[in-house]
Amino acid sequence: MTKFVLTMSLAILLLVVCTTADAAFPEKNITILNSSTAGSPTDLLARQVAHYTEPHLKQPLIVLNKPGGGGGVMFAALLAAPTDGYTIGSVTAAQMAALQAQLKNDFSFDSFDFLCNVQLEPYAIAVLTDSPWQSIGDVVEAAKSGKNILFGGQGTGSSMHLMALQLSKLADVKFTWLPYQGGAESVTNLLGGHAEIIATAPATVMQYVEAGQVKVLAISGESRLSYLPDAPTLKELGYDIVLTQYRGFIAKKGIPEEIKAQLVDAISKGIREPGFKEFMAQSKQEDGYMDPAAFYEYAKKDFDKIGELMQLMQ
């Protein structure tokens, strides 16, 4: 009897081993590491992508928050995981930019493989509707006449700060930069009159634009936004400034090509689902899909440009 049970269990074990060995990728949960805290816009995006990609991979995608270290904790966790495609990371331009600043000595841009991009968004320069300045020209003129302009936005050395620095260099004026903790804080300070002009993500101020409280003077993209047709690009205004925030996915360098292709295929199918498109429209985001090659090229160019602009901070 004991022998019979033993043989049977061995047989079952063998069966299980065989089926798992034969099964194609993915055979277990895929973890998406996210450096932002639960509930933040980047986290919500990752969770939405996970939700809509799941049916195409037939395995659950689990978003795991690894906040801290200015994004470094997530990068470290990603690099510590094996390159089997079961651990990927969500990434933004701002996080990669940290590798040009405080994380410069910890990580290298080339340690990562770029999977695909999902969102692409320019930055906006905004004032209150009843501000004395109704165009970038007005702002520059006021600064030239010696006015101390309080220019607020998220962080020091962030893309938004670099945009303001670049503008002040090209227009040959000076601003007082007020670094805030995040987008919401920047808007609060603008609405309260503690900052006179802010750099922000357009989606953060859209509802105030709709309510007639805030006016966007310019955006930093290549072309105008469909939902903000009246806001010119900085390029149109004669300032050669193009800076964008991308949000996509990366893996540790060395992920097998066929697994990478499978992941990219599943994500690209997921983000074409109507439910995901609705989410994008609700959060005022335009489709920014890029395949691995295009995404790498874009991210690399952006990364190098940020590195150059960092020199302006000296």
């Binding site: 805290t37 639960a38 509930g39 933040s40 816009p41 986290d43 919500l44 969770r47 939405q48 939700h51 795991l64 928050n65 690894k66 906040p67 801290g68 270290g69 200015g70 470094g72 904790v73 470290a76 600043a101 405080q102 994380l103 910890d106 101390n148 309080l150 962080g155 020091t156 050395g157 007082t176 930069w177 007020l178 670094p179 903790q181 919401a184 804080e185 808007v187 609060t188 300070n189 609405l191 309260g192 009159g193 503690h194 509802q207 105030y208 709709e210 309510a211 409280q213 609705e278 989410f279 609700q282 959060s283 901070m313």
Partner: protein
């Protein structure tokens, strides 16, 4: 407005909404009681479940969870000196001494009743004043936040009335700890040998270390301080007279919590400390504070629940989060296709009003549930010290791991546990250090922002009315315990002669 509120109740009484309300309240209660799990995390954990729900039940679920977390945080603060949410830190100061005196039931009862009253009356304030007070939330810029942080720090004087020098030493050490991390103005790291430290010492882990882990060591040493009057009847609830004595404190706590809650980035944390300080200063027996004053619990708990309603003022009227949990609520609203902000009350009045109705319904629900359970919870205090110590330790390690899914937070809390143990051994209070670590970054960043705004001129603090008033109040709050001490010493030395 009234018809909107009536229809809000109509929505809240629908079966899905009621189910969401009960689920949110119960889950929130336990998330709140679990150290390390805070309302922000609780809301974000539940967001995926709201994908398939209609907007109203979804928002009722999340907002009642938020409110209930602030009830739950007090349970572990009182029973095992481990604040379940960071806003319950001030509750532990008096709650735990009461548990040691065998009055856990009374402490829990007062905390639940004050929480219930705080959340009910602050909801009424929210309904009446949300729109008119929206502008007030915007009037806080760099100088005002600096003044507010200064006011918070001035509380140290009254927290440490036994020995001002020891209290302020602990606070100053806390301020030094808060320097660790990225300097947000210049964008450079300070004291950051490892990248985990770039965002500073994780506050919740530090707090759990100083309060709870240090308590584990004290318990293991076999001197828990359980008094001789520790009787078997730990589950006695507060008497009518005891509740009455806290009445006025609850009213003031509710008002303070609501006002501090409205100010974005201030929130329940600061509200409970400010209210605690206020209650102590006004109390007829301030010497009881820190040794088991029911009023202290009432002050802290009414304020931290009231701050939740306060935080909804800028959230619903302006789309500005008044706390990190409120920021996650904004995300949840966005997923439902709703924009919290200037247009919400006109476009979707059913959302704010059904949240108001849910808050009004959840207050009595929570109170009844809490009072029923507190009799059982109170028995925790009769568990032998050695067993309790290991349970607290386990819960703390689990909770701190959950903050960032990493061992780093666990090590930080253990380190601060050792520090806290030695501080207590040598008579240094740990509460001022916790307070300083909360307020340090706020004070520093806003001091520098304000000076940037003023072009380097400190006049900006005195030329803006709100900041001037708060600075004067903090000066009074800083100096009054010192004067009181001196006068008291003179009087007693005269009596001695």
């Amino acid at each position: 407005m009234l018809e909107n509120l009536v229809s809000g109740f109509g929505y809240a009484f629908q079966q899905h909404s009621l189910a969401a309300l009960c689920a949110g309240t119960l889950i929130g209660y336990f998330i709140g009681a679990m150290p390390g799990l805070n309302p922000t995390l609780g809301i974000s954990l539940l967001i995926p479940f709201t994908f398939g729900m209609k907007p109203i039940p979804a928002m009722i679920l999340l907002s009642s969870l938020y409110m209930a977390c602030e009830y739950g945080g007090a349970i572990t603060a009182i029973l095992i000196n481990t604040p379940g949410t960071s806003a319950a830190a001030a509750t532990a100061l008096d709650g735990y001494p009461l548990t040691l005196q065998g009055k856990a039931g009374k402490a829990l009862g007062i905390s639940i009743i004050s929480s219930g009253l705080g959340s009910f009356f602050s909801t009424l304030l929210l309904i009446a004043f949300a729109i008119p007070l929206a502008r007030f939330a915007l009037s806080f810029g760099g100088p005002e936040y600096f003044a507010l942080a200064l006011f918070g720090l001035s509380i140290v004087s009254s927290l440490a009335s036994d020995s001002l020098i020891k209290g302020w030493s602990a606070a100053i050490m806390g301020l030094l700890f808060s320097c660790v991390g990225m300097d947000t103005i210049n964008g450079v790291g300070r004291y950051t040998p490892h990248l985990y430290l770039l965002e500073g010492l994780p506050f919740i882990a530090v707090m759990i270390g100083l309060f709870a882990i240090s308590e584990v060591f004290v318990l293991l040493e076999g001197r828990s301080g359980k008094g001789e009057n520790f009787t078997g009847r730990v589950d006695a609830l507060p008497t009518g007279a005891e509740m009455k004595s806290c009445g006025i404190t609850v009213v003031r706590g509710t008002l303070i919590g609501f006002i501090v809650g409205i100010i974005p980035a201030a929130g329940a944390n600061i509200a409970s400390w400010v209210s605690y300080n206020d209650a102590k200063r006004r109390s007829r027996s301030p010497e009881l504070f820190g040794n088991g004053a029911l009023e202290g619990i009432a002050a802290s708990e009414s304020a931290n629940n009231s701050a939740v309603s306060g935080a909804l003022v800028p959230l619903l009227t302006l789309g500005i989060p008044g706390s990190s949990a409120a920021a996650v609520l904004i995300g949840a609203l966005t997923i439902q296709g709703l924009q919290p902000g200037p247009l919400l009350f006109t476009r979707n009045p059913e959302i704010p009003y059904s949240i108001f109705a849910a808050f009004l319904l959840s207050a009595p629900l929570m109170t009844v549930f809490g009072l029923t359970c507190s009799k059982f919870f109170a028995r925790v205090s009769s568990v032998p010290d050695e067993i309790l110590a290991f349970c607290i330790f386990g819960v703390c390690v689990l909770g701190t791991y959950a903050i960032g899914n990493s061992m780093f937070h666990v090590w930080v809390s253990l380190g601060f546990g050792v520090l806290g143990y030695f501080m207590r051994k040598f008579g240094f209070p740990t509460a001022p250090m916790v307070l300083a670590i909360v307020l340090g970054p706020m004070a520093e960043t806003n001091l520098r922002l304000a000076l940037l705004m003023g072009g380097g001129n400190a006049g900006i603090f005195f030329s803006r009315p709100i900041s001037l008033v708060i600075i004067l109040v903090s000066l009074a709050s800083f100096l009054s315990p010192i004067f009181k001490n001196i006068v008291h010493k003179k009087l007693s030395s005269r009596e001695g002669q």
